[in-house]
Protein backbone atom coordinates (compact mmCIF):
# COMPACT_ATOMS: atom_id res chain seq x y z
CA UNK A 1 0.00 0.00 0.00
CA UNK A 2 0.98 3.64 -0.14
CA UNK A 3 3.15 4.83 2.68
CA UNK A 4 5.46 7.47 3.91
CA UNK A 5 9.00 6.37 4.62
CA UNK A 6 12.23 7.80 5.91
CA UNK A 7 15.72 7.25 4.57
CA UNK A 8 17.52 7.35 7.90
CA UNK A 9 16.15 5.87 11.10
CA UNK A 10 18.82 7.53 13.27
CA UNK A 11 20.83 10.71 12.97
CA UNK A 12 23.59 11.90 15.28
CA UNK A 13 24.90 15.47 15.01
CA UNK A 14 27.14 17.80 16.94
CA UNK A 15 25.60 20.71 18.77
CA UNK A 16 25.67 23.76 16.54
CA UNK A 17 25.68 21.80 13.29
CA UNK A 18 22.77 21.77 10.88
CA UNK A 19 20.55 18.68 10.72
CA UNK A 20 18.71 17.34 7.72
CA UNK A 21 15.99 14.74 8.13
CA UNK A 22 14.57 13.17 4.99
CA UNK A 23 11.26 11.61 4.12
CA UNK A 24 9.94 9.90 0.98
CA UNK A 25 6.25 9.67 0.26
CA UNK A 26 4.53 7.46 -2.26
CA UNK A 27 1.07 8.98 -2.54
CA UNK A 28 1.24 11.51 -5.35
CA UNK A 29 -2.22 12.74 -4.37
CA UNK A 30 -0.94 14.06 -1.05
CA UNK A 31 -0.99 17.82 -1.01
CA UNK A 32 -0.32 18.66 2.62
CA UNK A 33 2.62 17.64 4.76
CA UNK A 34 3.57 18.14 8.38
CA UNK A 35 6.69 17.57 10.43
CA UNK A 36 6.24 16.55 14.06
CA UNK A 37 8.72 16.28 16.91
CA UNK A 38 8.14 13.68 19.61
CA UNK A 39 10.10 13.72 22.82
CA UNK A 40 10.18 10.69 25.08
CA UNK A 41 6.93 10.20 26.95
CA UNK A 42 5.12 12.95 25.08
CA UNK A 43 2.76 13.25 22.16
CA UNK A 44 3.90 14.54 18.77
CA UNK A 45 4.42 18.28 18.65
CA UNK A 46 3.74 20.26 15.47
CA UNK A 47 6.86 21.84 13.98
CA UNK A 48 6.01 23.07 10.51
CA UNK A 49 3.75 22.29 7.60
CA UNK A 50 3.82 22.82 3.85
CA UNK A 51 1.28 22.61 1.08
CA UNK A 52 1.98 21.19 -2.34
CA UNK A 53 1.79 24.57 -4.03
CA UNK A 54 5.03 25.48 -2.25
CA UNK A 55 8.51 23.97 -2.41
CA UNK A 56 9.98 25.65 0.64
CA UNK A 57 8.78 27.05 3.91
CA UNK A 58 10.78 28.50 6.75
CA UNK A 59 10.11 28.73 10.44
CA UNK A 60 12.23 29.54 13.42
CA UNK A 61 15.48 27.58 12.84
CA UNK A 62 13.59 25.06 10.70
CA UNK A 63 13.03 24.82 6.97
CA UNK A 64 10.91 22.29 5.14
CA UNK A 65 11.63 21.49 1.51
CA UNK A 66 9.21 19.69 -0.77
CA UNK A 67 10.22 18.11 -4.06
CA UNK A 68 7.08 16.86 -5.73
CA UNK A 69 8.95 15.53 -8.74
CA UNK A 70 10.67 12.85 -6.69
CA UNK A 71 8.12 12.83 -3.85
CA UNK A 72 10.61 13.88 -1.24
CA UNK A 73 10.29 15.96 1.89
CA UNK A 74 13.05 17.19 4.17
CA UNK A 75 13.35 19.05 7.44
CA UNK A 76 16.38 21.19 8.04
CA UNK A 77 17.23 22.32 11.55
CA UNK A 78 19.79 25.10 11.82
CA UNK A 79 22.27 25.27 14.68
CA UNK A 80 20.99 22.08 16.26
CA UNK A 81 20.71 22.20 20.04
CA UNK A 82 20.51 19.43 22.67
CA UNK A 83 16.83 20.28 23.10
CA UNK A 84 16.27 19.21 19.51
CA UNK A 85 17.01 15.60 20.44
CA UNK A 86 13.81 13.68 19.72
CA UNK A 87 12.10 11.51 17.14
CA UNK A 88 10.92 13.39 14.08
CA UNK A 89 7.99 12.21 11.98
CA UNK A 90 6.78 13.40 8.63
CA UNK A 91 3.09 13.02 7.90
CA UNK A 92 0.98 13.41 4.77
CA UNK A 93 -2.69 13.79 4.20
CA UNK A 94 -2.87 11.14 1.48
CA UNK A 95 -5.79 10.92 -0.84
CA UNK A 96 -8.36 11.84 1.77
CA UNK A 97 -10.62 14.11 -0.22
CA UNK A 98 -13.36 15.46 1.99
CA UNK A 99 -12.18 13.42 4.96
CA UNK A 100 -10.67 16.36 6.70
CA UNK A 101 -7.40 15.98 8.48
CA UNK A 102 -6.44 12.31 8.53
CA UNK A 103 -2.70 11.84 8.46
CA UNK A 104 -0.36 9.05 7.41
CA UNK A 105 2.81 9.04 9.46
CA UNK A 106 6.28 8.10 8.29
CA UNK A 107 8.65 5.75 10.03
CA UNK A 108 10.39 8.35 12.18
CA UNK A 109 13.99 9.47 12.59
CA UNK A 110 15.65 9.68 15.96
CA UNK A 111 17.85 12.76 16.18
CA UNK A 112 20.60 12.71 18.79
CA UNK A 113 22.52 15.90 19.45
CA UNK A 114 25.97 15.59 20.99
CA UNK A 115 27.09 18.49 23.20
Amino acid sequence: GESVGLHLPTLSVQEGDNSIINCAYSNSASDYFIWYKQESGKGPQFIIDIRSNMDKRQGQRVTVLLNKTVKHLSLQIAATQPGDSAVYFCAENGDFYNQGGKLIFGQGTELSVKP
Partner: protein
Protein backbone atom coordinates in the same frame (compact mmCIF):
# COMPACT_ATOMS: atom_id res chain seq x y z
CA UNK B 1 -3.26 25.97 19.06
CA UNK B 2 -5.44 23.58 21.02
CA UNK B 3 -4.37 21.85 24.21
CA UNK B 4 -5.37 18.21 24.42
CA UNK B 5 -5.47 16.30 27.69
CA UNK B 6 -5.74 12.55 28.00
CA UNK B 7 -6.66 10.46 30.99
CA UNK B 8 -5.25 8.19 32.25
CA UNK B 9 -1.66 8.90 31.27
CA UNK B 10 -0.78 5.27 31.88
CA UNK B 11 -2.36 2.11 33.17
CA UNK B 12 -1.60 -1.54 33.73
CA UNK B 13 -4.59 -3.78 33.04
CA UNK B 14 -5.46 -7.42 33.28
CA UNK B 15 -6.15 -9.31 30.09
CA UNK B 16 -9.83 -9.68 29.30
CA UNK B 17 -10.76 -6.35 30.86
CA UNK B 18 -11.54 -3.05 29.13
CA UNK B 19 -10.10 0.43 29.53
CA UNK B 20 -11.68 3.71 28.51
CA UNK B 21 -9.37 6.58 27.62
CA UNK B 22 -10.67 10.12 27.77
CA UNK B 23 -9.60 12.98 25.52
CA UNK B 24 -10.48 16.58 26.37
CA UNK B 25 -9.70 19.56 24.14
CA UNK B 26 -9.61 23.08 25.53
CA UNK B 27 -11.43 24.48 22.52
CA UNK B 28 -13.86 23.22 19.92
CA UNK B 29 -12.27 21.26 17.10
CA UNK B 30 -13.83 20.02 13.92
CA UNK B 31 -12.01 16.72 13.77
CA UNK B 32 -10.76 14.27 16.39
CA UNK B 33 -8.73 11.15 15.76
CA UNK B 34 -7.32 8.23 17.69
CA UNK B 35 -3.92 6.74 16.93
CA UNK B 36 -1.92 3.83 18.26
CA UNK B 37 1.84 3.89 18.61
CA UNK B 38 3.77 0.73 19.42
CA UNK B 39 6.98 1.39 21.36
CA UNK B 40 9.71 2.65 19.08
CA UNK B 41 7.39 2.80 16.09
CA UNK B 42 5.30 5.27 14.16
CA UNK B 43 1.69 6.25 14.64
CA UNK B 44 -1.15 4.25 13.10
CA UNK B 45 -4.58 5.77 12.73
CA UNK B 46 -7.30 3.78 14.46
CA UNK B 47 -10.36 5.86 13.62
CA UNK B 48 -11.90 9.26 13.11
CA UNK B 49 -14.22 10.21 15.96
CA UNK B 50 -17.35 11.76 14.51
CA UNK B 51 -19.52 13.99 16.62
CA UNK B 52 -22.94 12.50 17.17
CA UNK B 53 -22.42 9.51 14.92
CA UNK B 54 -20.43 6.31 14.65
CA UNK B 55 -16.68 6.60 14.28
CA UNK B 56 -14.99 5.85 10.97
CA UNK B 57 -12.50 3.01 11.41
CA UNK B 58 -9.36 2.30 9.44
CA UNK B 59 -8.59 -1.07 7.98
CA UNK B 60 -7.72 -3.54 10.70
CA UNK B 61 -9.67 -1.79 13.44
CA UNK B 62 -13.26 -2.57 14.38
CA UNK B 63 -15.88 -0.98 16.55
CA UNK B 64 -16.35 -4.00 18.80
CA UNK B 65 -12.72 -3.85 19.83
CA UNK B 66 -12.29 -0.08 19.90
CA UNK B 67 -15.63 1.61 20.56
CA UNK B 68 -15.37 5.38 20.32
CA UNK B 69 -17.65 8.14 21.49
CA UNK B 70 -17.69 11.81 20.67
CA UNK B 71 -20.63 13.55 22.29
CA UNK B 72 -19.48 17.10 21.50
CA UNK B 73 -16.75 19.14 19.81
CA UNK B 74 -14.33 19.02 22.73
CA UNK B 75 -14.48 15.47 24.10
CA UNK B 76 -13.98 11.91 22.94
CA UNK B 77 -13.37 8.51 24.46
CA UNK B 78 -11.69 5.38 23.15
CA UNK B 79 -12.32 2.03 24.81
CA UNK B 80 -9.91 -0.84 24.36
CA UNK B 81 -12.12 -3.90 24.89
CA UNK B 82 -11.30 -7.43 25.98
CA UNK B 83 -7.64 -6.55 26.18
CA UNK B 84 -4.76 -8.88 25.40
CA UNK B 85 -1.01 -8.27 25.76
CA UNK B 86 -0.94 -7.38 22.06
CA UNK B 87 -2.94 -4.26 22.90
CA UNK B 88 -0.05 -2.92 24.96
CA UNK B 89 0.77 0.34 23.26
CA UNK B 90 0.53 4.10 23.46
CA UNK B 91 -2.84 5.50 22.46
CA UNK B 92 -2.94 9.07 21.25
CA UNK B 93 -5.79 11.45 20.69
CA UNK B 94 -5.51 14.30 18.21
CA UNK B 95 -7.70 17.16 17.16
CA UNK B 96 -7.76 19.79 14.47
CA UNK B 97 -9.89 21.97 12.32
CA UNK B 98 -9.95 19.68 9.34
CA UNK B 99 -8.35 19.18 6.00
CA UNK B 100 -4.96 20.74 5.42
CA UNK B 101 -4.63 22.09 8.91
CA UNK B 102 -2.29 21.03 11.66
CA UNK B 103 -3.47 18.39 14.09
CA UNK B 104 -2.55 18.65 17.76
CA UNK B 105 -1.87 15.68 19.99
CA UNK B 106 -2.41 14.73 23.56
CA UNK B 107 0.45 13.33 25.61
CA UNK B 108 -0.77 9.80 25.07
CA UNK B 109 -1.93 6.94 27.27
CA UNK B 110 0.62 4.22 27.85
CA UNK B 111 -1.25 0.95 28.24
CA UNK B 112 0.30 -2.27 29.47
CA UNK B 113 -1.79 -5.44 29.44
CA UNK B 114 -0.63 -8.28 31.65
Amino acid sequence: SAVISQKPSRDICQRGTSLTIQCQVDSQVTMMFWYRQQPGQSLTLIATANQGSEATYESGFVIDKFPISRPNLTFSTLTVSNMSPEDSSIYLCSGGQGEDTEAFFGQGTRLTVV
